[in-house]
């Protein structure tokens, strides 16, 4: 298992290097001098010249990349044009919101998606199944921001149950009760992703239920619920876990939109605002961190896959 894990990490290195190169080259694709792009319109010529020397702009591209990568590995992602602060600390400010939002969203996805998926598969063909799989597809077809706007309209403006925007830190006044700010955003974000998981669980459970070993389990006289959970769902989980990385990618994309709708001070909104402010160092930094995070998630998914399927880990 350890060898398998190390092996997987090693295969990720080239992809990670290539992805970081893409992120690096992004600044060079924008028309204009990279140093003045990185410093923004207000920079003085001296500052531009200073940064040019630092980045080695007269060196060949690959030397610049190595310089940049060296800085990145030391935690130096540059300075935000807009905030006049190190990019890393700007991103860190948004991390609390984004991580809490993602956790809460995962909570909804698992508590709603998994049981509904299992029921839909075990009762397949019934009206419950048709309603849930149809409903799941419908939810996957709703634009995230539209759903968010209507949740605000109903539950904030109409019923006044939840705040409609913003998120004070848990460290601020209110403490853990500030989590109520994240209820509507996390539900918005969970809806299309739970729909995805429901359809995924249903499809793979139906595949597994046609396998011979399920008949063996039933022939043992096990309770149908035990057959469904211990035998069918447990095997379906292998396929579901493989697709989980995909769900995470969708989650990141939709978080960008959701954080914007609910004006949450998270990393997703930071990307959008930085794009609109042309704050390129921040864009570069956030993209890099998300890509690394995304690949780490995919690695974890792979390891989960291996630990769920004894046939893989022993190869």
């Amino acid at each position: 298992m350890l060898i398998y894990a190390l092996n997987r990490v090693l295969t990720l290195v080239p992809t990670l290097l290539a992805a970081s190169f893409l992120v690096f080259i992004f600044i060079h694709l924008i028309p204009g001098d990279p140093a003045s792009i990185l410093l923004g319109d207000t920079a003085t010529p001296e500052e531009v010249a200073e940064l040019s020397r630092e980045l080695g702009l007269d060196e060949p591209l690959w030397t610049q990349y190595v310089l940049w990568l060296g800085n990145v590995l030391q935690g130096d992602l540059g300075t935000s044009v807009f905030f006049r602060e190190p990019v890393l600390s700007v991103i860190a400010d948004g991390a609390e919101t984004s991580i809490l939002l993602a956790t809460m969203t995962m909570f909804w996805i698992v508590t709603f998606g998994v049981p509904i998926g299992i029921v839909s598969a075990t009762r397949h063909g019934s009206w419950i199944d048709q309603a849930t799989s149809g409903g799941a597809m419908l939810f996957a077809s709703v634009p995230t921001f539209w759903l968010g706007l209507y949740l605000i309209l109903i539950f904030s403006v109409g019923l006044g149950w939840f705040p409609s925007s913003g998120f004070p830190s848990l460290a601020d006044e209110g403490g853990a009760s500030n989590l109520r700010y994240l209820v509507l955003p996390s539900l918005t974000l969970a809806a299309p992703n739970a729909a995805l998981i429901i359809r995924l669980i249903r499809a793979s459970m139906l595949d597994v239920s046609r396998e011979d070993h399920v008949r063996t389990a039933r022939a043992k006289g096990l309770h149908p619920a035990r057959v469904a959970i211990k035998h069918i769902f447990r095997n379906a989980l292998i396929a579901v876990s493989a697709a989980f990385g995909f769900t995470f990618a969708a989650l990141v994309s939709e978080a960008v939109v959701t954080e914007t709708v609910f004006s949450l001070p998270g990393i997703g909104r930071l990307v959008v605002q930085s794009v609109l402010r042309r704050d390129y160092p921040v864009i570069q930094g956030v993209i890099l961190i998300i890509v690394v995070f995304y690949m780490a998630i995919n690695l974890l998914v792979d390891l989960a896959y291996a630990s769920l399927d004894p046939r893989v880990s022993l190869k």
Partner: protein, 283 residues
């Protein structure tokens, strides 16, 4: 007509998918006949009838510039079809070629699929966002960006399917009978990929609508004056409490169209070669 007849059996016993197909036809007709069907000019301002409620003569009401919502929605169908088919075209042609060539020529494949892997390390909307920062807001650029995003997934899928086809007997037979690479790729492999690619196309079409709407909403998609459903939502969202109908109509249009396309894709998927079913994820 022949095509219609040949796909008709797919929809037998699938009431919802049939309804979905009909809705897509309606959208198609609205797109083609927009200048004839739209009762008003979708771009004309009229400050005296700002935010008027649905009624006669403005069936869907008017927006905060006093533009007729129904007319904008009808022209929006044009954008929906344009963005959907444009992205599908780019994704399928680019992704399909990369996938097929990579699976067929092993050395080239190593390189190309590595590149695809790298691009796939960027979550879809994020990749689109980054690409859009480099480009001007325009219809063409939106289509190109969404097309590129889905070209990567298509390349992966086509790569997998071509590998499976390569092992088939008929390819060996074609090689033995002296067929060249081009002939094998385009006359033997490609025809077998057509129906799974059609399924993939319908899912891309659906996803493209949502991505385009999200880009519009973030202010990074189509130019704001272009009448698209995403822009209608994005422009009028501040009036959601005063004029909720302005968001209900375009929202419902997007949901209906994406849902319909997903239903059709699902129905089509059940009819393709079972070997390829798991390759195409869909919703």
């Amino acid at each position: 007509m022949n095509v219609l007849l040949s796909i008709a059996p797919i929809f037998r016993g699938r009431g919802l998918a049939t309804v979905g197909m009909c809705w897509l036809l309606v959208v198609g007709i609205a797109a083609i006949g927009a200048p004839l069907l739209a009762p008003f000019d979708p771009l004309e301002f009229d400050p005296f009838i700002r935010l008027s409620e649905p009624g006669w003569p403005h069936l869907f009401g008017t927006d905060h510039f006093g533009r007729d919502s129904l007319s904008r929605a009808i022209y929006g169908a044009r954008m929906a079809i344009l963005i959907g088919s444009g992205s599908v075209l780019i994704a399928l042609v680019a992704g399909g070629l990369i996938g097929m060539l990579s699976a067929y020529f092993v050395r080239l494949g190593h390189l190309l699929m590595r590149i695809v892997d790298v691009l796939m390390a960027f979550p879809a909307l994020l990749l689109a966002l980054v690409l859009m920062t480099l480009l001007e807001r325009s219809v063409l650029n939106t289509v190109i960006v969404i097309g590129i995003v889905y070209a990567t997934t298509t390349a992966r899928i086509v790569f997998g399917m071509t590998l499976k086809l390569k092992r088939d007997v008929f390819v060996d037979a074609a090689i033995c009978s002296g067929a060249g690479n081009t002939s094998i790729l385009f006359r033997h492999i490609l025809p077998n990929l057509m129906s799974p690619m059609l399924v993939q196309a319908s899912f891309i079409f659906a996803f493209a609508q949502l991505q385009a709407a999200a880009l519009d909403f973030l202010g990074l998609g189509l130019p704001p004056e272009v009448p698209s459903w995403g822009n209608m939502l994005s422009e009028e969202r501040v009036y959601v409490t005063r004029a909720p109908w302005l968001l209900i109509f375009p929202g419902a249009l997007i949901i209906l169209s994406v849902f319909s396309m997903n239903l059709v894709g699902d129905a089509l998927r059940d009819n393709i070669d079972p070997r390829f079913k798991d390759d195409i994820a869909g919703v």
